[in-house]
Symmetry: C2
Subunit: 547 residues, 2 copies
């Protein structure tokens, strides 16, 4: 039995465009001899549709689209992720569903049983869990159709069963000959090996092959990595689609030995690919072709520029150096070297006159007060306003360049260097930024990020002789501490007990907590770790705690 | 039987401070002869604690606090809202709970059955619903203890039953003599009469008195209005605590005729009180004493200033006029008059020199390009940077002054007039801003908001002779349209069918959709309508739709 894993990159909300893509792929799958084409979760609308689901007209449009798609299912069947109204009189209004289409019609509908409502997921905001599971009969074979989270209920690996139900076990029990899982499973670093172990466990437990069809592409802060796959009944990987791009993988469930098995990028390469895809999709799906960013000569803006150039092409990227009276000579020369290495456009716009105009204007209001963070922020905000003016005038999207470590401790200026539509590396801790930089140079086989940028001590250059380490612990210590506090939710006491200097822990935790207000107004960032700032971390602001 | 309704204003996360407040009120309630003191939902930590709940140390601290509070329950019992670990091995880790404390101990614990996961609520992110309900025996009387949403399951009023369970009906069925509901029920305009109708229905249905204890105070965007109440078994209001402030209301469930019944503010007055409380609490709970804001001479900044002066006292508020070459004379004189009427500090900081410095700096980069929105945004961003400099230098919180209609259509500048920590009226549609202004003058019995501010056509004054209505439909039309589209989730077709000009509908809907990116980075706003931008409306940005 030939099955086509149709790994698409949908545009959220674009029912018409996504439907056209689906219909094309059904036709391609038929040409390739597949009897069944499988699409990702909510393929008709793209995942996550979020509160678009509260628009009744949108839900109706998605149902109509599935019926139109079904009309193209002749000589082939297709499983399409969509949303259906809940016909029960009690419970939430919608169900996360899969339409089994064949002979020009939607023949059967199956439902997601387990609805993730943690981290970035809000499915119980919209959906009612499906009723008891049942197989779909496809070409005389009972098939177990499941949707994403339905599979992620492995006590052994996850530590706790969140759900009472076990839809995969039930599907196996009622006679499924293989399990299909239609997914939209967001990427984060090191999730892939975990995912494969989980899939292997589930296949072995059920003694059934598993066909996993994943969405690919960036949708706002989430990046979907594709790598749709077939796992055999022994839990071994039998076939795999490309990671981080669209693909149509046709497999033969009987003789899968001959199927394509694309490699998955290893280690830092996966993070790089994710960021490139996430940046490309965010810029393009927002309707932009070009991007602009500030180049300080430092590592963060250099890595951001390299990712942008890879995502959009160097000709679509403009880097801007905005020197002040405190800028070192190397801030310009390193930025210039980077821009030349990448082949992007480079502008120099000194902020001196603007900076002085602010000083003159505010002088009489600041009489007798010492210079402090105010004066530093003014420079950052001057630069932000210049970049936004270029963005407005040229219709390019401003990329902001701060990393996760800075954003965590608030080492960044609201309405200054935080200006921008997309924060490319705001979920990349500083030490990982260095790894990305080394990888970018390695990958190119030549110096892209200038060696001096990699070697010099990080500095915001907002006052004379400033370096980041004047106010922050060394980044290798900071990053460990932040991972413990933010990702692992360890308490102050636990982090101190693990051997980090108590004063450092207290100071950093305080900075993290008190800078929630900055993150509230931060640009959308690309999630590449298991716990990113943004929609997956919801903290109060007007609050008082220290744990 | 005397019961104390202990309507507190907790600080989110401040377990120690909230516990001290609870212990004091238990002692006060005992002095007043109460046998039971009832506190709001999650009183120990304040509602909503959001992802603080994912910190195990925080949850442990809240449990320890409840046991400490219980030690003070001697000669009186208390019901305290807190969070308990779920001891079942399957399901989410926590339960939203109520501790019945007496004789110095936590004697019984009851759980919330219905977990709201819509609008601003995310309870299924954290909590597992409680098991079957059971009464608490208090002084020999079986009492039905419920928590907030448990009561909000009225098919008749809400239109659809979201939940399979009916905890209130069950509590009545197992013999409760009255129902207690511990709540944290956020304010919005016109919710109060709806809430009272719902409570009346529930009391009548069960033929039992209902004791409703609500949180009061502002926590981030949510404002809790207090007005804790007793509804008798016939569904009539028998006693009511103060709205929008802390209160301890002691009632006698047998002879409630003599109980205090505070009035609830009518109409626009409730919105005003909510905004004043929300502003005061946000500023103070964030650790600020003073606020600063731009005064344009227009209605939005005037109303915001009046609310800030009422919230913090006029001496704690500074208004800043920042005229440009396009500013009218009245922009300064109206702002000056307002500041004098309110008794707030007033500064004039012209932006001319800064504006020119930007023009000079960008001149060579903009050669041959027509002036457009870029130049308008530069002025708005100059003003934002000046206000942020004052905020940084003086440690005052910047209030942003945009209204909901503007924010909806993106008639505001990111990093410009959108700068600020709190958007006081960002959930107030323009027509309601006018009502608030009239109310503020009426309430004062004299002109606070200058008549000229009320009468002149709204203008951003970012180019010569500009008015809002150059680019937007009249606000009375716009506000109706926005309510249909945003609050009621009506489709374009439905809004046109209701009689609004099709071109206007298309244009406005497009503006709303395309400006999601601005709202992503908007300041926290105070929710005063049933559908506010912010945590209760979660839209994709890199998306394509028009419904």
């Amino acid at each position: 039995m030939k099955i086509a894993l149709a790994q698409i990159n949908p545009m959220v909300g674009d029912i018409q465009g996504n439907s056209a893509k689906i219909i094309n792929l059904i036709s391609e799958a038929r040409s390739a001899g597949a009897s069944l084409a499988v699409f990702p979760e909510l393929a008709v609308m793209g995942y996550p549709p979020r509160d678009l689901l509260l628009k009744p007209r949108f839900v109706r449009a998605n149902v109509e689209a599935v019926h139109r798609i079904a009309e193209s299912c002749r000589g082939i069947a297709a499983l399409i992720g969509f949303v259906e109204s809940n016909t029960d009189t009690v419970g939430r209004q919608l169900r996360n569903a899969a339409a089994y289409c064949t002979d020009g019609q939607v023949k059967q509908v199956r439902y997601k049983s387990l609805l993730p409502t943690y981290d970035v997921f809000d499915e119980q905001r919209y959906f009612e869990p499906g009723p008891e599971v049942a197989v779909v009969e496809h070409a005389g074979v009972p098939v177990g159709v499941s949707i994403c989270e339905d599979l992620w209920n492995d006590e052994q690996l996850i530590g706790r069963r969140l759900y009472q139900r076990d839809p995969i076990g039930q599907l196996a029990a009622v006679g499924a000959k293989f399990i299909i899982n239609m997914s939209a499973s967001p990427f984060w670093q090191n999730k892939y090996p975990f995912r494969m172990r989980l899939f292997g466990n589930q296949a072995k437990r059920c003694k059934l092959p598993l066909v996993f069809v994943n969405q690919v592409g960036g949708n706002d802060e989430l990046i979907f990595d594709g790598a749709s796959a077939v796992i055999d009944a022994k839990g071994e990987l039998a076939a795999q689609a490309r990671a981080f791009e669209e693909d149509l993988l046709v497999v033969d469930l009987i003789s899968s030995a001959s199927d394509r098995c694309e490699p998955y990028p290893k280690g830092i390469a996966a993070v790089y690919e994710a960021l490139v895809l996430g940046t490309r999709d965010y810029v393009r799906k927002c309707g932009f072709k070009e991007a602009v960013l500030g180049l300080s000569g430092g590592i963060d803006s250099a890595v951001t520029a390299a990712i942008a150039a890879a995502a959009l092409g160097p000709k679509a990227v403009t880097g801007v150096s905005m020197p002040s009276r405190y800028s070192s000579e190397h801030s310009r020369t390193d930025a210039d070297a980077l821009a030349r290495n990448l082949g992007i456009e480079f502008k120099i716009i000194p902020i001196g006159e603007i900076h002085e105009a602010f000083e003159n204007t505010l002088h009489s209001h600041f009489v007798g007060l010492e210079p402090d963070i105010t004066e530093e922020n003014i420079q950052a905000r001057n630069r932000g306003a210049i970049l936004m003016a270029l963005s407005n005038k040229y219709g390019s999207l401003l990329l902001t360049t701060g990393n996760k470590s800075e954003l965590a401790v608030g080492y960044c200026t609201l309405y200054g260097d935080m200006c921008g539509g997309l924060a490319v590396i705001s979920d990349v801790p500083k030490m990982l930024v260095y790894q990305l930089a080394e990888y970018i140079n390695e990958r190119a086989g030549k110096e892209i990020i200038p060696r001096n940028t990699l070697n010099k001590p990080p500095s915001a250059e907002l006052r004379p002789d400033q370096t980041d380490q004047d106010s922050l612990p060394p980044y290798d210590v900071l990053d460990v501490l932040l991972e413990q506090y933010i990702t692992n939710e360890k308490s102050v006491d636990e982090i101190i007990a693990a051997g980090i200097d108590p004063d450092t822990v207290q100071k950093v935790v305080k900075l993290v907590d008190m800078n929630e207000y900055k993150r509230k107004q931060a640009a959308q960032g690309l999630k590449v770790t298991s716990r990113a700032f943004g929609v997956g971390r919801r903290m109060p602001i007007a609050a008082k705690f220290r744990y």
